[in-house]
Every structure is written in C-alpha cells, then in structure tokens.
C-alpha cells in the first residue's frame, strides 16, 4: 500500500531517467505523449502507404496491381488505421503532452492509467496490423456493415481481427477519456477557471466526454458481432428475424460522435495557433467554447444521415436532415470566429499558421459537401460514390490532419526544444495543399459521374480515366510532402534553432516553462490571473528556473504495460479459439490489476 504522505521524503528527480526501460515504465505525461505521437505517426505512414497502393491500382482503368480481395483489405485497413490508429492517437499525443501544461498541473490525474491507455492502444494497433502477416487483414470496410461481416459471408480471420482489435482499442480510449476529464476538471492551477482555459483544453474536454459516452455503444455493437461469429447468436442474422439496421444504428450512433472526436481537438489546435500568429486574442472566446460544447451535444442527434439510403421513411429523414443542417451552424460560427481573429491582426505566416489557414480553407470545402449530404434527395445520389470519399478526405485530411500538423509545427519546439525548419515546413505545406486538392477534388466529379467507392477497378468506357489519374498524381504529391516533413525532423534534430521558453510569443501556460519542460513541469504552482497569462501584465506569478523546494515526481511502474499485455493475450487467445489462452490472459490481467492497485505509488 501507499507510503504515508507524512513519512514520504519528497525529492526532485535528480538524475534524468533514460534508457528503454525508463520509457516502458514511464508515467510522465510528456513521455507518454511522445510515445503516442511516434506510434500514431508510424501507423499514419502505414495507412498512407495503403492509400498510395489503392491510388496506384486506380491510376489507370482495369488496373492489375492488386486483386479485388487485396483491395478490400487495403481500403478497410486504410480507413480503420487512419481513424483509430492515426488521427485519434495523434490528438491523444497532444492531450497528453499539452493538457497538464496548459492547465498548470504537474501530471494527469492518474499517471499509471495513462501509461495503461498507451500500451493498450499500442497492443491493439499491433494486433490489428498483424492481420496482414496472416494474409487476413479486415476486409469489410471501416464501418463493417452487417451481414457482410457475418460468419457465413466472411468465414476467415479477417473480421475477427477487426472486431477484437477495435474492442481492445476501445478500452484504451475510454480509460484515457476518463483520465483527461478528471485531469481537466480537477487539476487546474489556482485561478485557472473554466472560462480561462485554453480553447485546446476546452475542445479536448468536450472530446473526452464524447469518447466516454460513444465508445460503449460501439463496444456493444462489436460484442454482438463477436457473439454472432463466435457463439452463433442471432443479432445480425436475418434468417432468425434479426435486423441488419441494428448494426448501422449502433455503429453510426457511435460513428457520428466519432467524427467530432476526430475534428474537435483540431479545432482546438487552430484556436491556439491563429491568435498567436495574428497577435490578437481569439475573437469571441466564449462563443467558440460554447459552439464546441454544442457540437459535442448535437453530434448525438445526426447519426441517421449516414443511413438515408436504407429507407428510414419521411419522418426520420426529415428530422435527421434538419439536425444535420443545424449542426453546421456552430461549426460555421467557429469559422467566422477564426477569420475574425485574423482580421486586423499582425499576421505572421509561419508554418503553423499556414497549416491553420489551410485547415480553415479545406474544412470549409469539406463542410460544404457535408451540408449537401444533409439533404436526402441529394444524398441518395451521392451515397456510396466517390463524392462521399471526397467529402471525408477534405474533412479528415484537409481538416483533421492539417490541423494536427499545425499543432506539430507549433508545439514541436516545446516538446523537443528545437524549431522545425521554416522553409521545409512551408514546402511541406505547399505540396500538401496541392496534393490534397489534386487528389480529392476530382473525386467529387468522379462520384457525381457515377463511380462507386470500394470497387477495385473501373472500365475506360466510364470516361473517368483522366480524373482518376490526376487524383493518383495528387495522392503521390500528398504522400511525398511527408518525406519533406520526415527530412525536416531529421535535419532539425541536429541543426534546428534552439527554442527558448516561448519561441512564437504564445499566450498560454505551456509557454511559461522551458522547452522541453522539466519533468515536474512547473517549479512552483502557477497562479493564473488571466485567460492569456503571458499577454497580460501580472497574468501569472513568477515561475523560477530552479524549484525553490524539492518536488515529488512519481516513479516508474511496469504493471500498466503488463495489464495491457494480459488484455492482448486475451485477444490473441480469442482469435486462436483457445480457451486456455483466453483464461490465461484474464488471469494475468486480474493479477496485474491487483499488483497495480497495491503497489506503493504516490502521485
């Protein structure tokens, strides 16, 4: 059990912890943030390569690079990887690294649970990706519609990998969600009232509430699918009276809030970047915050617009059409706030700012096609065509990824102490904007002209050869832009300019400490007197370089990773249909939880 607070000798972590073991056992939110970032970026590159193979196959009519079955696996894994293994955990990297710094805390509320979330995410991602090694990658699309996924139509291991992998990832997301809500609600520094919190922290808070409430829904949908496949239940069995729309309702009841899980953190990031590089406070801070909250709530009322084509009837169609149009309002409000923030500002077009502006432009385009989908008659023409593919890529690449890159360039100096090269950053941005538009804009037309998505090839008589080729060229330009980024990272490591505490002149708390921050974050607890503490006279107390008194830093522990390993064993056992391995995994998980609960660990 715990060492008593009185008997414990508080100490500053003297020698800097290093080595692989220190990373495996770390409970430092900053290190876990970096782990999330590196892992998610690796998965992002994998998902990107999958996309390039898809585009190479579609470059010419009657392509023969891959066969239909491989193609199915590629688009399924591309979607699943990008949503669950790239964008979500890239945001999580920022949640981890930035939230405690932005609210003036020394760590998250539950550092060990935080480590656990990361390891479960890593193991879930590896489990899902390992399917490629068995030639059995998931092949039912990223939303895995029933009953394509039933045992009768997908007898292989493909869907098993998908169900179990997503189930494991869900555990990581819910645990992290709870952790961050408690952190934001409870660990704010004195004076950091809710309406003084940075917008990124606010949007993260909304996102975590969505995670905590939306993931149980997909968990249940996946449990039904798992039981159907493993135990022969009838949830998605039409022959027994089951309704295939049950899956669609449960999936999209999760799936649409999931869209906001992907985009809200990014909206938070650009709300930090735009004021910094416009030298102006965010226009209408409170409105941006409230519209974010409103999006989080309204996101629960629009899911059936994914299902207009299933024939829900005029009443349901009208209701979901109206709610979908309504949710565009708080989103539009934010866009006007961002533009008004720049208006009359002293704009510095540094790389993070360029990505933030690119985000606004691309997200408007993606948003416009989104509003088009809200009208059922129009949607029926677009469902299952490349028009939808164009929409999601404008929102998720032009939106989420652009915003995340804005955050990467903005916070890189804080995380690694060096500023990424500006010229290369701008080149990355330019190639990316060109790549996105060249690759995804033709998809609108390809879709409207009738090319269905998820078909591994097309005939030249469709007359879409040129546009498909243009799209493929654009995809490779987009992919190539990341080579510039990777080179930039490598170059900056050796030659980058050293960053001071606040290289961009930011206003929020994370810029008050050194880059990278010390293990304990703040040498003294901040006293926050302003929403923009670094832009206001007496906005913040003095944060000395050297702590005036010893600070307790939590030690490392290996029980979180072992607990996560137990869960992985459980999933491996399930896919091997080995009850013994499943029971072993359960036993080991329970054992590790007990050791975790009773080990001496002081936050």
């Amino acid at each position: 059990m715990a060492t008593s607070a009185a008997g414990h000798e508080p100490a500053v972590a003297s020698a800097k912890r290093s080595g692989v073991w220190s990373w495996i056992t770390t409970t430092d939110h900053k290190r876990i943030g970096i782990l999330y970032g590196v892992t998610a970026f690796t998965f992002f590159l994998m998902g990107g390569v999958e996309a390039l193979i898809i585009r190479a196959q579609l470059a010419r009519p009657n392509g023969t690079l891959v066969d239909a079955e491989t193609y199915n696996q590629l688009f399924t894994m591309h979607g699943t990887t990008m949503v669950f293994l790239a964008i979500m955990p890239l945001s999580a990297a920022f949640f981890n690294y930035m939230i405690p710094l932005q609210i003036g805390a020394r760590d998250v509320a539950f550092p060990r649970l935080n480590a656990f979330s990361y390891w479960v995410f890593l193991f879930g991602g590896l489990f899902l990706s390992a399917s490629f090694l068995f030639g059995a990658a998931p092949n039912g699309g990223w939303f895995g519609y029933a009953n394509l996924t039933s045992k009768a139509y997908s007898p292989g291991l493909n869907i098993d990998f998908w169900v179990l992998g997503l189930q494991v990832l869900g555990i990581a997301s819910i645990a992290a969600g709870i952790n961050f809500i408690v952190t934001i609600v409870n660990l704010r520094a004195p004076g950091m009232t809710l309406m003084r919190m940075p917008v990124f922290t606010w949007m993260s808070l909304v996102t975590q509430f969505i995670v905590v409430t939306a993931f149980p829904v997909i968990t249940v949908a996946l449990i039904f699918l798992l039981f159907d496949r493993f135990f022969g239940t009838n949830f998605y069995n039409v022959a027994a009276g089951g309704d295939l729309l049950l899956w669609q309702h449960l999936f999209w009841l999760f799936g649409h809030p999931e869209v906001y899980i992907l985009i809200l953190p990014t909206m938070g990031i650009v709300s930090e970047v735009l004021p910094t590089f416009s030298r102006k406070p965010l226009f209408g801070y409170a409105v941006v915050v409230y519209s974010g909250v409103l999006i989080g709530v309204m996101g629960w009322g629009v899911w059936s617009h994914h299902m207009f084509a299933t024939g829900l009837g005029p009443v349901a169609d009208s209701v979901f059409s109206a709610t979908t149009m309504l949710i565009a309002i708080p989103t539009g409000v934010k866009i006007f706030n961002w533009i008004a923030t720049m208006w009359g500002g002293r704009i510095e077009l540094k790389t993070p700012m360029l990505f933030a502006i690119g985000f606004i432009a691309m997200f408007i385009l993606g948003g416009l096609s989104g509003v088009m989908h809200s009208s059922p008659p129009s949607d029926l023409q677009q469902t299952d065509t490349y028009f939808v593919v164009a929409h999601i890529h404008y929102v998720l690449v032009g939106g989420a990824i652009m915003g995340i890159l804005s955050g990467i360039y903005y916070w890189w100096p804080k995380m690694f102490g060096k500023v990424l090269h500006e010229g290369m950053g701008k080149a990355h941005w330019l190639f990316m904007v060109v790549g996105i538009n060249l690759s995804f804009f033709p998809m609108h037309l390809i879709g409207l002209l009738g090319m269905p998505r998820r078909i591994y090839t097309y005939d030249t008589q469709l007359g879409l050869d040129t546009m498909n080729l243009v799209s493929t060229v654009g995809a490779f330009i987009l992919g190539g832009s990341f080579l510039i980024f990777l080179y930039n990272v490598w170059w900056t490591r050796k030659n980058g300019l050293r960053a001071g505490n606040d290289p961009w002149g930011g206003a929020t708390l994370e810029w008050a400490v050194s880059s990278p921050p010390p293990e304990y974050n703040f040498s003294v607890i901040p006293q926050v007197n302003s929403r923009l503490p670094l832009w206001t006279a007496n906005g913040l107390n003095e944060i000395p370089e050297v702590p005036p008194e010893p600070i307790h830093v939590p030690g490392g522990t290996y029980w979180p990773i072992l607990t996560a390993a137990g869960i992985l064993a459980l999933a491996v056992g399930a896919i091997m249909h080995s009850l013994w391995i499943v029971l072993g995994g359960v036993g080991f998980t329970v054992f590790s939880i007990y050791r975790w609960a009773f080990e001496p660990f002081e936050v």
């Binding site: 059990m1 715990a2 060492t3 008593s4 607070a5 509320a109 539950f110 819910i174 969600g177 709870i178 952790n179 809500i181 408690v182 609600v185 409870n186 660990l187 704010r188 950091m192 905590v212 409430t213 939306a214 993931f215 149980p216 829904v217 968990t219 249940v220 949908a221 449990i223 039904f224 039981f227 135990f231 022969g232 239940t233 009838n234 949830f235 027994a240 009276g241 089951g242 309704d243 049950l246 449960l250 007990y594 609960a597 660990f601 002081e602 936050v603």
Partner: protein, 197 residues
C-alpha cells in the same frame, strides 16, 4: 493508493478517484443502455423457439431481485461501519453484501440452466441471444463486484481498512449500487413488462 483525501487538493474539491468513477458509471450507462435498447427492439420478433412468457419465472426472479436489493442495504451499512472505524461490523456487512451477491449469482446460474433445459439457448432465437447477453453482462458485473467486495473484506481482516480508507469502500459501493439499479431496470423491462405475451 495513497491517502488522496488528505494529500491532494483538487480544483472542484471532488476526489479524483470518485469523479473518475462517476464518469465510468456514465460510460456504463451507455453500455447497458445499448444492450437494453437492443433487447427492446428485438422483443417479440423471434421467429421460433421459446418466448418470454413461456420461459420467465417472475416469482423466482423476484426473490433474487429482493436479495440484490438487500445487498445494497448491507453495502450502505458496511460503508457506515468502515467510516466509524467499527472493524467487526465492517467485516460482517462486507461479507453479507458479497454473500448476497453470490446468492444472486446462484439464482442466475439456476435460471440459466433451467432455461437451457427448456430449450432457450443463446442460438435458438432472438430472445435467447438478447436475453442471455443482457443478463449475462449484468451477471458479469455482479461477479466483478463480489470479487471487489471480497478483496475489501480481506483487507479488513488484515486490518488495512480503517476509516482513512472509507473512500475506497464508498467507490465500491457506488459500483455496487449502480449494478443494483441496472438490475431493477432489467427486471422491469425484461420480466415485468412482457409486451410479446
């Protein structure tokens, strides 16, 4: 864990663990909500096999429901005993709560075995699939609660469950009461209101 109560000041004054647990319960509401909603959507849509009114035995399940309700009372008394530092009654009430939980699980096992003998299995029809999944998940939650309570009981025997650890018992109690409340919903929706009858 450490004595978080004394050692840590939080922005809201709420304890971190307690707040986290409330959020977890919120998450669990959506889990059971989805399971119950599915049960309701599929109720009366089984094509073959036994249906609700042929199978469900309301008198027997009323007894197990009463048993689970009483366990919540025992839980309240356990927390009160731990808070006032009463070792003997802490142990008595913790053991009683866990014991009533075990009795409930016994009833459920008996019920499941009987139903299977009467031809209701996971596979036979939609009622079987939804009924066993919903009540099975609830039973799983009761099992976790029993293990948790027994752990607290052992800690009490070891003399490591003083009033300073009352919060740990309180959180276990939150979980236990939540599982109890879920059962009340399930009992009402599944057993008492049988629309297909």
């Amino acid at each position: 864990m450490t004595q978080a109560v004394a050692a840590h000041h939080t922005s809201t004054g709420l304890d971190n663990k307690k707040l986290a647990f409330w959020l977890f319960i919120g998450s669990e509401c959506l889990l059971f909500g989805s399971l119950i909603a599915t049960y309701l959507v599929y109720e009366g849509r089984s094509i073959s096999g036994p249906t609700t009114h042929e199978i469900l035995n309301i008198p027997v399940t009323s007894i197990s429901t009463f048993d689970l309700l009483m366990s919540s009372l025992a839980m309240v008394l356990a927390l009160a005993a731990v808070t006032r530092g009463d070792k003997l009654w802490s142990r008595v009430w913790l053991a009683t709560t866990a014991g009533l939980g075990v009795v409930f699980l016994g009833f459920q096992a008996y019920e499941f075995v009987t139903f299977v003998h009467e031809g209701l299995t996971l596979q036979v029809n939609l009622f079987g699939s939804t009924f066993f999944t919903l009540t099975g998940f609830h039973g799983g939650h009761v099992l976790v609660g029993v293990i948790w309570l027994l752990t607290l009981f052992v800690r009490s025997l070891q003399g490591k469950l003083g009033p300073d650890k009352a919060l740990n018992v309180e959180i276990a109690g939150l979980y236990w009461h939540f599982v109890d409340v879920v059962w009340i919903v399930i009992f009402t929706v599944v057993y008492l209101i049988q629309t297909s009858a």
